[in-house]
């Protein structure tokens, strides 16, 4: 049995080792894919091995290197990070399975590069999840941005290039332009960047300056896609679907909102922040983002773009939950990271399955497709229900805690936003479901295809099932979410 | 009474007789409903509040008639503002 504090860095190094393996075996696709799958399973074991400890209240620490005097790269195991890492580690094997089906089904180019950077991105996600201080988080945050750039521009055409520019531009501009000064400022003020329950700012900074710091952090974390920093996300949809699925539904965007929650809970401190004047504007902006992004989603005919805007909206749920600044809403925020991950990856998987099997990308082309691809569209339905927050899908649970938190903090705006956005969510998802199952195919639509390749169907069925199972058995994520910010 | 009017725009004798019998039946029924009023005492529901309107002679008859008349009138009036072509929302 490997000691806990060594298991922690393994979570980062296993995917990196996998990346090396993928690179070395690039000439033999079967071995290469085997390496991906094997690595993802090993990672799952490693992360799974950490779970009992964190539930038992242990907080193992592993110091990588002292980067600057007083500034270390270090990892600390902690419930919120465990939650994020757990989600990513659980979904990586599934997404790998899916990728194999998708990349082969569509005869994509540069598959080695694809798997290589995918693995690096996962390593970066693990680094973010287990970061023990802001600087470590920032380091892996930037690595994630850079390692996903080749994935976004995978197709290499003019569109991809343009999208890549927007992607890099916004993510780097926010992280370098806002997040970095925020971190340095924090270091200067607090003398540390370690995550600590209750925050490290306390009374060292107050008044409007604290509000400014809050804005710098939340906007600096561009991956959380708070408006008007959201444009990179729809742009990134030019990437192959597995990328959109795992990275832009799970790893990258979740890294964003995870960081937001982490900063709010462990750096700024919920109570400290609540006293900052005007901080509630962040909540209002998040609320606006939820509604506005949903409204835009309504108008998108491209399925992946619709999902992208839905993601923007759902991310702001987490931000809003965090900015409600109530203990219960933090639980909601953490659970929503999990809930949204499983639901949205299912939706993206389904979009990719449709593309692979039927070569369709538009909502308006989906009439009657549910009869051809019952599994895919069934999974899509479950994912959509989870997005709307209808039981028995896990989306209900997170929404429940966000609402409770809103009542705890008496934030009625948040309640109103959730009500409105639920309607909008339904308004842009339900027509797809109806069209797929109840509308007759357009004349001339041959519909000669059947279901997507087996790995794809398998993957999306697994995540859809997980969406339902997590509703019935939310104990583990719930226990982790409740332990966030609590000194063991 | 009927929208498909052009089919029966000219009055016919049979129609007149039909209408007359109909009214006759109605009149008899109404009379039958009023007659027992002389033998039955109504109970005032809000006696304790000093309201005895509902115990008056033939209260249910005239109250019903006028209430219905009023409701039809109000509906007709509102209809002026609220009615739209059948295909209003489909445009």
């Amino acid at each position: 049995m490997i000691p806990l504090d060594q298991l922690l860095p393994l979570a980062v190094f296993v995917p990196l080792l996998g990346a090396v393996g993928i690179w070395l075996f690039g000439y033999a696709p079967n071995i290469r894919e085997g390496a991906t799958l094997l690595t993802s399973l090993v990672l799952l074991l490693v992360v799974g091995g950490l779970l009992p400890a964190v539930l038992a209240g242990e907080r193992p620490t592993w110091l990588l290197v002292e980067m600057l005097p007083g500034l270390e790269l270090k990892f600390v195991l902690e419930p919120l990070g465990m939650l994020f890492a757990g989600v990513a580690a659980l979904l990586w094997p599934v997404a790998s399975l899916y990728s194999i089906g998708y990349m082969r089904g569509n005869n994509e180019q540069h598959q080695t590069r694809f798997y290589l950077f995918f693995a690096i991105a996962i390593a970066a996600s693990m680094g973010i999840a287990f970061a023990g201080n802001l600087i470590t988080l920032f380091v892996f945050y930037e690595i994630l941005t850079l390692s996903t750039y080749p994935l976004v521009t995978h197709k290499g055409n003019a569109d991809a290039l343009k999208a890549g520019r927007v992607y890099m531009g916004i993510l780097l501009a926010t992280s370098v332009g806002l997040l970095l000064p925020a971190i340095i400022w924090t270091w200067q003020v607090a003398g540390t960047t370690d995550f600590a329950a209750g925050g490290i700012i306390a009374d060292k900074l107050g008044g409007p300056m604290l509000t400014v710091l809050g804005f710098l952090f939340i906007y600096g974390i561009g991956k959380a896609a708070l408006m008007p920093m959201q444009r990179w996300l729809p742009a990134a949809m030019v990437a192959p679907t597995p990328v959109s699925a795992l990275l832009h539904a799970v790893a990258v965007v979740k890294a964003g909102v995870f960081s937001v929650v982490k900063v709010v809970v462990y750096i700024l401190g919920v109570d400290t922040l609540a006293a900052a004047p005007g901080i509630e504007w962040l909540l209002y902006i998040a609320g606006f983002t939820i509604v506005a992004a949903s409204t835009i989603a309504l108008r998108q005919d491209n399925l992946k773009r619709r999902l992208a805007y839905s993601t923007i909206s759902q991310l702001s749920y987490v931000i809003m939950a965090a900015m409600i600044l109530a203990p219960i809403s933090i639980v909601g925020a953490a659970l929503h990271i999990v809930a949204h991950a499983f639901g949205k990856i299912t939706l993206f998987f389904a979009a990719g399955a449709i593309y692979t099997a039927a070569h369709k990308t538009k909502v308006s082309e989906l009439n009657g497709i549910g009869h051809r691809m019952p599994w895919t569209m069934g999974a899509f339905t479950i994912g959509a229900l989870s997005m709307i927050g209808v039981p028995p899908a896990v989306g209900f649970i997170s929404k429940w805690y966000i609402l409770m938190g809103a009542f705890q903090a008496e934030q009625r705006v948040a309640v109103a936003v959730i009500i409105l956005s639920t309607l909008l969510n339904a308004a842009y998802f339900m027509p797809i479901i109806y069209a797929a199952f109840f509308k007759a195919p357009a004349p001339g639509d041959q519909q000669v295809h059947g279901e997507a390749p087996l790995p794809i169907v398998l993957a999306l069925s697994v995540t859809a099932a997980a969406t339902l199972i997590l509703f019935l058995f939310p104990e583990v994520p719930f226990a982790l979410a409740q332990a966030i910010g609590v000194q063991p | 009474m009927s929208a498909s009017g052009n089919q029966r725009s000219r009055p016919s004798p049979s129609r007149w007789s039909k209408r007359r019998t109909r009214w006759l039946i109605v009149a008899v029924l109404l009379a039958l409903a009023i007659v027992p009023e002389f033998f039955v005492t109504h109970y005032a529901h809000f006696e304790s509040l000093g309201i005895e309107l509902d115990a008056r002679f033939g209260f249910y008859a005239w109250y019903s008639f006028f209430a219905c008349g009023a409701m039809i009138a109000i509906a007709k009036l509102l209809g002026i503002f609220l009615k739209r072509r059948d295909s209003y929302y489909d445009e």
């Binding site: 229900l385 709307i388 | 529901h45």
Partner: protein, 578 residues
Amino acid sequence: MQLDGFMLPPGLILILGAFILPQVEGRVRHALLLALPLLTLLMVWLIPHGSHLTLGLMEYELEPLRSSAEGRLFATVFAVAAFAGGWYALNKATLLELSAAFFYAGSAIGVTFAGDLITLFIYWELMALGSTLVLWANGKQNPRAYPASMRYLLVHLCGGVVLMAGIAGHVYATGSIAFSSMTMTDGLAKWLILAGFLVNVGAPPLSAWIADAYPEASPSGMVFLSAFTTKTAVFVLIVGFPGTEILIYIGLYMVFYGIVYGLLENNLRRLMAYSIVSQVGFMVTAVGIGTELALNGAAAHAFAHIIYKALLLMSAGSVLLMTGKRHCTDLGGLFKHMPITAIAGITGALAISAFPFTSGFVTKSLETAAAYQFAATASDPMLLVWVWFLLTAASAGSFLYVGLKFPWFVFFNKDAGLRPTDPAPHMQYAMWFFAFLCIALGVFPEALYAILPYQNDLLAQPKSYQQYTASHLLSQFQLLLFAGLAFFALLPLLKQTLTISLDVDWIYRRLFKVLGQEFTFKVGDLGGKTEAKIHGRIKRLIAHMHGPSGPRIHWPSGFMVLWVAVLLVGALGLYYLR
């Protein structure tokens, strides 16, 4: 998980049935369609009162199997409605509609057995989904069904999430998820819960969804739809908000809203939909009064209403099915051709009008009785006086716009030249069955009284339910006959036109659309354009600054020497002059 004996939530029988139905064919399916509701009914009555099952979800202990008197009453009539509806739909409805309807009915029964708010909410949302599926099932036959269903779904999800918000707030404030009377708690959460319930009950301002969506379902589909959603909402109001005064006003509004819109309506089944609002308004008013008698009245009226409204809709649905016509203006003189349908329709019409010896008579009287019985002790007696007079007038009005209008324009009036026949035998049987129940409940009300929630009250107040006194019978006859007089006397005013009536739904069906078109939301495009503009501007600026040849520009050395001088002189000057 803890379970006494082998009891399962009865609603699950129908919900599971919904998934079994597609797996079987022919006779087996027919048998299941009839047997499952009856099995459910049996289960409903086998479960003794009390809570029998706990399930852990999140940090809460759910009680999905709590039997109570109110719940059992509603569950009973839901099972009966599912049975008769299934019978009526037997061969005609699509498989999907049947499955959806069973899912829907099972969820409704689930609500009646919910011992806690979370279970309640879960079934509540499942109901919304199930009922939407019933509408979707008719999408291929009726192109209007889909848009209507989306509006329907959105209204219900809105109600649902408002309810969820309220429940979350309530649970946060009280720490308890128990579903019981909420009249004592206070604050936003309570009002949100009430609002959530009221959306389903068809209360203003969102009353329009009933008339908007239900008529777009198939003939059998609307029978199912009419039975569950609004009545489940009445049930939760009875348990959660007895005696909440605002319900009196809301109920009265609904009563007259239904009558006025019903009078204006030309589409038969929309007329029926408006009458649902009106009738449910009676129940809501009674819940608002909140005495035991009033609650009994509301419960009993809901029971009777489900049956006679289903009967009316079966009749109207048969007409639609056999003639393809849905408007009063296209129909008339069908009595001779569809006698059984006509008899069913007339029976239902009489029942809804509270004609003596029908179910409506005995149940509606309970509600009016509650108004005057409570008046003496109420804090605001005059309100109750108004309630009584208005409800009495509304009883007459019910006869006017459904009791007379429906049979008259469809089965009598002038012959529209249609020559249909009565529908299929199983549909006739279903209608006979409900017609029988309408009369039976009117003649033997004791059976219904025996299962009403507040037995003590009934025994203590003999006068209140002595429906068949001479005085009461006479008053009721007068009320109805003179309403009839008004109907025939003012018939020219009731001339039916091929129109619809505007309602609050105008806001979301027309206004939002227009606004959306006017102010097209283009945030994404706008952002992109601005970005491009800024990008271009920066580029031009730099190019301008750096000269047209860009990188090849050559700056003379003298220029730099000048700068050296400037800098030195500047520095020295600065130091010396300081």
